[in-house]
Symmetry: none
Subunit: 241 residues, 4 copies
């Protein structure tokens, strides 16, 4: 039974101000959340013990059970909070002023920064993806929500930039996110900033190409056949017209 579940068994006066004790409780909760995020991301969920988290947070073990009900509950909370930060990062990357091309460049730079400055975010999400898919329905649901929201945010961002929202845009956004994931994954192993620059360079070129071609298509009118019907890539060696 964690605080959110604990019903108000008694009708209360409901004084708005929180007492000192409750305030301290919230602080404990927060410290646990922060430590857990860091450590789950660094070592994975299974390899991190509750004692590890608590030592780092300066809180006794039983507090985890007071605030989150179980290790699993702590994870869910961590994911939930992380999700927001993650998506906010993506959104902040895309939603800025400027001309379309600049904005896209800035958005990609933003993603790149995310990879370098907040690796915990991505590590955590990815390791959950690998470690705990299928086992726990709730974890899975949280992850799905996170990624769906991220994709939607990116799709909206691009649509706003180019002024249209062609049908294939969602897929392009999904591919971009997937590539971001993959690049991040590789960066975990190599930690080579120059390589990171090069990869994001190529990624940008690919994105621009895919988005441009969607845009062109949308301009010419979506009436000519199934979407993507005319988008068979040209032969290699032939310059694209």
């Amino acid at each position: 039974m964690c605080p959110s579940d604990r019903g108000k068994s008694t009708v209360r006066g409901g004084s708005g101000r929180i007492s000192k004790r409750v305030a301290q409780g919230l602080r404990s909760r927060d410290r646990l959340l922060r430590s857990a995020t860091r450590q789950f991301a660094e070592r994975g969920f299974s390899a991190t013990s509750i004692e590890d988290v608590c030592r780092d947070a300066g809180v006794v073990k039983s507090a985890v059970y007071w605030h989150f009900d179980s290790k699993e509950g702590l994870l869910t909370a961590v994911l939930e909070e992380t999700a927001t930060a993650w998506i906010d990062g993506i959104l902040a990357s895309v939603q800025q002023t400027g001309d379309p091309r600049e904005r896209l460049t800035r958005a990609i730079a933003g993603m790149r920064e995310l990879v370098e400055t907040r690796p915990a975010l991505l590590r955590l999400l990815q390791s959950m993806l690998l470690e705990r898919t299928g086992e726990n329905a709730e974890t899975r649901a949280v992850l799905l929500r996170v990624f769906d929201r991220a994709r939607a945010a990116l799709t909206d961002g691009i649509a706003e930039v180019i002024g249209v929202r062609p049908p294939g845009l969602e897929t392009v956004a999904a591919l971009v996110l997937a590539s971001l994931d993959g690049i991040f994954l590789q960066h975990q192993l190599r930690r080579d900033r120059a390589e990171l620059d090069r990869l994001f360079g190529e990624l940008e070129r690919a994105i621009v190409h895919l988005v441009s071609s969607l845009f062109d298509e949308a301009q010419r009118g979506p009436a000519d056949g199934a979407p993507g019907a005319d988008r068979t890539p040209p032969e290699i060696g032939e310059t694209e017209k």
Copy 2:
């Protein structure tokens, strides 16, 4: 002391008996390897206990220590074997006859198949990447070797297809692998085959574009400045020339 380290100090009391023992030993080893691969991939290294592996393999726990010296040693062996299979998969995708464009399409289809038919391979590698980077030098070394070889194989394959080997090709290959990883990761969560089709469709278009543009550049001569200097992507909305 695992078998490979142990000298041939065994007294041979008749090769018939010995070979029977050795044969059974190899069978146990193999079963362990197979079970471990599956389970490490499914649940991650930390979350899989030696007992889990042994139960599945029908072998007693101490056998792991005879064959692999430790849980860590079992992991190393698993990674080593998995690596080969993984790279062979990539290679087989690329190295086939036919005209360039067809070969690329086939290569991408091959990767897609890898994602669906051998998820254990990728899961294992990726989860190792996330779970055990930084902790264990040997695991890291094995992973680096695997990914380097995969990238080299893909670079070679593309180079052979297009007949030239421009400087940026390695990066493109790396991006392709990264995207593959990312797509796989997403597929773990969604398991939506139609989405997989769409993603690979966009990936193909992106690859063709990147490779073509490298090819064109190589044709025009690689002499004009730093690689990629003239490759600033055009404005969105302007059709690429």
Copy 3:
């Protein structure tokens, strides 16, 4: 410090408010008592956690410490209340009007009903007997008091019924109570009402026999030697005269 120990040091700021508080306090206390009785009886004292009791009672854990000082104190209170009910049950069984034989039959029917309708009572007393004898002096004292009073009540009842109070009557009463306990114990396992009927049938016959023979003896005069001296049961096969 539990309420009974606490002096009347409370400042009375208006009896209306106070009595409301007290009323609510009593309600909480009562709910705790009821839940604890049920759960201690069902699962035993050790296997029941304070949280179990509180969840069921809809009261926070610290309330237990306010009302009863400790888990042990809660138990003592529960036993005390239960004792009264238990003894009242026995008394009600015996103390009724009618001719002797009828009254005994009714008394036995009353006991039988007790077994079926108020199992918590007996379970609780018995499990305390087994779980906590030797450990805790207070629990032991409470239990002794309960059983002594029950035996006295039964002895009195029978004495009143048969009009005399021969020396062995206390022992017969004790045996009856012991048999009741034993039958109840078996019923916990089997829950077979027909078997319960049969057992109580035999018990009634045994009681009638023992009481009759005490009565006869008392009639013939209690002067001939030690009590029970002439009461050696006859040979099996010989009909009792």
Copy 4:
């Protein structure tokens, strides 16, 4: 997975002699069983920790899990072993030579001894009855088996003694066992040997009466109506004919 469940995963030469290691294993198992029996009986199952048992047995905690799989498994094993001893005790009490009346007296003396010399047996069974009815199906099954066998043994014993087996005999045996249980329960609280003597004295008189009357009835022929139909106990005060 406890030893009995662990299948022979490999075909073995099946040499009959047990190795030193296995022998020591059996000794450990036995010590655990003995300590557990004592402690579960003394304090109850829930109140006894695995550490308590292991400390007393001089064995490490994990050994419990090797031999019995869980605390519950240890309990089941304890009950199983205890059962045999219990029943053997009952049987030994009844099955002896001599004339019927003597044998019955000896049997009752045997039960009385059981109460005094092996209280652990009865305590354990009874506390399981109270503590764990309904929760665990296996425990319940074991208990049922134990009590059924005990009743059957007693029924057989009496039948052999009196030479006939009238229909109500099973019930009488059940009542005797229940009374034994109840007397034991009371003795846990009072520990008064004189009282014990008196109670067993009355019990013997009751048994003789019930058995005799069954015997008589069987002699007269079981044809006259439902069993027990004519056995309404006489009025108190009237001497039984």
